[in-house]
């Protein structure tokens, strides 16, 4: 071993001397043989020739010696690399184009993969997150596939399951820190085992235990503990000034966050946690608890699913109300469930970026292939000088490798910049990508991309070199035999590129059209010229009409109103509950659920919601007068199909001074559906109650203005300050901001898809240019002969362009087929356009051939402009 190492050392550092030694030895041996022939009486020249025949060639011998020695492979590798670098530097424009293309492809992919990884794959910050599952109840016949459960059902699952280590429930409410600076906070109410199920430990103090259930114990997130309580550890075990009695028992770690799907209404940023009372386990009426379960070790999701299926069957007999409803439970991996809404879009974007990378690789491969063909003469020469084919193939791989190494490094830089850009336009739903950042898996992914590209790039020209008949190549000056092969490969590359480009452009067109359709959606109100702001405390309920009148009197204000829950505002937990139309059985009604809102008389008119039937609320709808309600058309249509809702009686919970109470009210109006949760879907029906009859706050005020909504803010602030020292405006925003935040995931997808499509077009054009440019330089003699035989420049131009058109047509055809297949898969991401939207396909049909012709124009023109005599002479 030691000897081998010293030889390696010799080889690497004393190579010059060893080589000199070998040279001298070979020369002296050669002379010895010459001497011997001369001794037989041959004339000196003859003797040398004979000796040379016997000696297979110095270079060949030296090559054989080198190949057999320790360290030679490393040495050859270094040499290949040096040689590759030198070769790349000799052709700066080729190298630059190849590098820019690779850097773009790898960069875009690295950035998109970072997003993909950060959102979909980066494990949730819980203990063994892969064992966590969300449990949904579903009432198939009622059409609620992802419904919460009642406390009674939670108890049944906890008792009867055999595959779960624990099942916990959560639900969000609003609580208020009182004191000098009152503050409304989101509070998650959980079962005492919640943090045990997640496997989260307290950073200070402790998490909940069974004895805490329904008691005063609360926990805080690290964020609010620092901001509001200056991270004062002495507060542990003490009561904090709050709306109800409480004791702080623990503080969560800084990285703690809730990760539930948006439609579960469990906000990621709940700041306070308290506990359910054990009384919930007897509640069979209210369905509002979201469940998270931990699978026992070794239990698969499928086994657990079978287990909860059994539980559902067992209890459907005991709970008669489900007999007709076909209750089922569905388990879903917690992470998959949390990201299911963004998963298809991210997968599509990832696929799109992979397409871009594929096109980049095709471009670089065709450049390298062209270059390899250019170098056939050099290769043939080296082969005839005694280089082994293996050595030449190694060299080709070295070139691809160096290119990809540099391209990968540049790609990571591009990826970083691109990722910064994505962070800037990221929708709130993708907040997690900031945590994950441009991460190791993403870098590993970039490295893998580069490596795959390097192998591909070495492989293509290497195959080419194996077909090389070096004698023929030397004779024809490096042209000739290669022509057809390269032309076939080049044509295939162009067609492939246009196919991929077609899919990307179609996808982008569909996404952009979806975006514009969503932007045109009427959300049930008119968001422009509408100001919204929240006031949590400081104006007593009785003073609201007066305050509204004062606002309405401001110049530039048309209408004023207020609501307990502003549409598209996700900060306040949604208020929704079951309702019971009069005359319908209570058990049957248990699954009828509506959004409930308390509003002032001017609210619906100020929002611009259209009144379809009956009337809005007015000043006569007072606390003491007959309870009234307004419903939306969705609820009216589904509850009383084919009948007018006006005058119908409905039981729904009201906020009273004694808490929530079911109250019978008469429907006096029907309005259009306000999109509370989603621009594109009508999630559930709505019931509006007069604030006077159901006082639930905090109120968000809306002002319909004639002027720029934000220009009124300073005046309003002053007015509020004059009215109350403690009142504060929060979340002062034009309503358009809520709408654009809702659109942002779609515009994020659309922007990325458009970038991909633009890249695809650019790459297709440069790709066609590269391939054609090279082919035409190879076919110059042919062109010359054609022109000498009487073809006009125009004919040559037409011939070349005809070829481009044929290739483009083939690419478009294949692209259309591929796009039709891919579009089926895009279906869920589209809104307002069909997956076979003719306009989107039409735009791809227009753009791709245009890009191909653009790329083909210059090479074709150059071919046509050349002088025939010169072209032939080159041969």
């Amino acid at each position: 071993m030691f000897r081998r190492l010293t030889h390696l050392f010799d080889y690497l550092f004393r190579r010059r001397r060893l080589e000199d030694d070998l040279d001298e030895e070979l020369r002296s041996s050669f002379e010895t043989i010459v001497d011997r022939f001369a001794a037989r009486g041959m004339p000196p020249a003859e003797a040398r020739r004979a000796a040379r025949l016997e000696f297979d060639g110095f270079e060949q011998v030296k090559e054989n010696v080198r190949d057999g020695l320790v360290g030679s492979s490393l040495q050859a590798f270094l040499q290949d690399t040096r040689y590759a670098v030198r070769g790349l530097r000799r052709r700066p424009s080729f190298t630059l184009i190849a590098l820019v293309t690779l850097a773009l492809g790898i960069g875009v992919n690295t950035a998109v993969f970072s997003v993909f990884y950060g959102v979909l794959l980066h494990p949730l910050p819980y203990d063994h997150p892969e064992r966590l599952a969300i449990v949904w109840s579903s009432f198939r016949t009622a059409g609620h596939a992802r419904a919460p459960v009642s406390g009674a059902i939670l108890g049944e699952i906890q008792r009867r399951n055999r595959s779960l280590a624990g099942v916990a429930g959560i639900w969000t409410i609003t609580r208020t820190f009182t004191g000098d600076n009152p503050e409304q906070v989101k509070c998650a109410r959980v079962t005492a085992n919640f943090f045990d199920v997640l496997g989260v430990h307290a950073a200070h103090g402790r998490t909940f235990t069974n004895e805490d259930s329904g008691g005063p114990a609360i926990m805080l997130t690290d964020g609010i503990f620092r901001r509001r309580f200056a991270a004062d550890g002495r507060l542990l075990g003490k009561g904090l000034p709050m709306d109800w009695e409480d004791t702080l028992v623990g503080v969560l770690p800084p990285d703690f966050q809730l990760h539930f799907a948006p439609d579960s209404n469990v906000p990621a940023d709940a700041q306070v946690f308290d506990t359910f009372d054990n009384a919930i386990y007897t509640d069979r009426v209210q369905y509002y608890i979201r469940l998270v379960a931990r699978l026992k070790p070794g239990v698969s999701m499928a086994e657990a699913q079978r287990d909860v299926d059994r539980v559902a069957t067992e209890i459907s007999g005991a709970y008669t109300e489900y007999a007709t409803e076909n209750l089922q439970f569905t388990l879903a991996g917690m992470q998959a469930d949390a990201v299911r809404d963004v998963q298809p879009a991210l997968a599509a974007l990832f696929a799109g970026s992979a397409f871009v990378l594929a096109i980049c690789c095709v471009n670089v491969a065709s450049l390298l292939l062209a270059r390899a063909s250019d170098r056939r003469k050099e290769m043939a020469l080296r082969l005839s000088m005694g280089a082994s084919r293996g050595r030449i193939v190694r060299q080709l791989f070295a070139e691809g490798g160096v290119l990809c190494l540099l391209g990968g490094a540049a790609g990571i830089a591009v990826g970083w910049a691109f990722f910064r850009g994505l962070l800037a336009i990221r929708p709130e739903r993708l907040a997690r990508i900031a945590d994950a950042g441009l991460n190791w898996p993403a870098l590993a992914f970039a490295a893998a991309c580069s490596l795959a590209a390097a192998l591909l790039f070495g492989f293509v020209p290497a195959i080419d070199s194996f077909r090389l008949d070096f004698m023929a190549t030397l004779r024809t000056g490096g042209r000739g035999a290669l022509g057809r092969l390269h032309r076939r490969t080049g044509a295939a590359l162009i067609v492939g590129e246009i196919t991929l480009g077609f899919v990307l452009v179609t996808g982008a067109a569909l996404t952009v059209r979806t975006l514009s359709r969503i932007e045109q959606v009427r959300p049930g109100f008119e968001p422009r010229h509408l100001l919204a702001f929240q006031i949590s405390s400081g104006i007593p309920g009785n003073a609201i009409p007066d305050w509204e009148a004062q606002l309405a009197a401001l110049p530039g204000v048309e209408r004023v109103g207020a609501t307990s829950h502003l549409p598209l505002d996700t900060d306040i937990p949604n208020w929704y509950s079951s309702y019971q139309p009069e005359g319908i059985d209570e058990r049957q009604a248990a699954t009828l659920v509506a959004d409930l809102r308390c509003i002032t008389p001017g609210y619906l008119a100020a929002m611009g919601a259209r009144l379809l039937e009956g009337r809005y609320f007015d000043q006569q709808d007072r606390a003491a007068s007959r309870p009234v309600a307004i419903v939306d058309e969705l609820l009216a249509r589904t509850t009383w199909p084919g009948q007018s809702a006006i005058g119908k009686k409905i039981v729904a919970e009201h906020a009273t001074s004694d808490g929530f109470k079911p109250i019978v009210s008469a429907v006096v109006g029907v309005v259009e559906h306000l999109h509370n949760h989603s621009l594109t879907r009508q999630v559930r029906g709505q019931i509006y109650m007069p604030f006077e009859q159901s006082r639930r706050g905090p109120l968000t005020f809306v002002l319909r203005t004639r002027v720029d909504p934000l220009s009124l803010v300073p005046t309003i602030r002053r007015m509020l300050h004059d009215r109350s020292r403690t009142a504060a405006m929060a979340k002062v925003r034009p309503m358009t901001e809520y709408v654009s935040r809702e659109i942002s995931p779609v515009s994020f997808t659309a922007v990325l898809a458009a970038i991909f499509a633009a890249l695809a077009l650019l790459l297709a054009a440069t790709g066609v240019y590269g391939v054609l440019n090279y082919q035409i330089s190879q076919r110059r003699p042919e062109m010359g002969i054609r022109m000498a035989l009487g073809a006009h420049a125009r004919d040559v131009l037409r011939m070349v362009l005809r070829e481009v058109t044929a290739l483009a047509a083939a690419g478009v055809l294949m692209g259309a087929v591929a796009a039709l297949i891919a579009a089926r898969w895009l279906g869920t991401l589209l809104y307002g356009v069909g997956p076979f939207d003719p306009l989107s396909y039409g735009s791809a049909l227009l753009f791709l051939p245009a890009a191909a012709l653009l790329g083909g124009w210059r090479p074709a023109g150059r071919a046509a402009a050349a002088n025939p005599a010169e072209l032939i002479r080159e041969e």
Binding site: H7, E24, S28, N64
Partner: protein, 106 residues
């Protein structure tokens, strides 16, 4: 006749057993002793010599040759002698095995 794969080392070591020799001399000797059956070309001889030298079985030194050129003479090292003995034993074992096989009856 082609030299059997792996036997070139044995031939070279054996050629050097009696006295140090230069490359051409080794090739000549192999050809003479095998009565022209094996012709070792420089393309395989020199790589083999360098390989044996790296293994430490032979050692090359520059010295004047019979017609007064500088030539590289190779001599067996101690490790080389041991190796030669080993390879001889292997070879004999193999040839006798081959013979038994060829001379067995049916």
């Amino acid at each position: 006749m082609d030299i059997l794969q792996g036997t070139l080392d044995l031939l070279v070591l054996r050629a050097l057993e009696l006295a140090p020799m230069h490359g051409v001399g080794i090739a000549d000797r192999i050809q003479q002793v095998t009565r022209g059956a094996f012709v070792v070309k420089p393309g395989s001889l020199f790589p083999a010599l360098r390989r044996l030298e790296q293994q430490g079985w032979v050692q090359g030194e520059w010295a004047p040759s019979e017609n007064n050129r500088r030539a590289r003479y190779y001599k067996l090292t101690r490790a080389g002698r041991a190796q030669l003995a080993e390879e001889k034993r292997n070879w004999r074992r193999m040839t006798s095995a081959m013979n038994w096989m060829l001379e067995s009856e049916g």
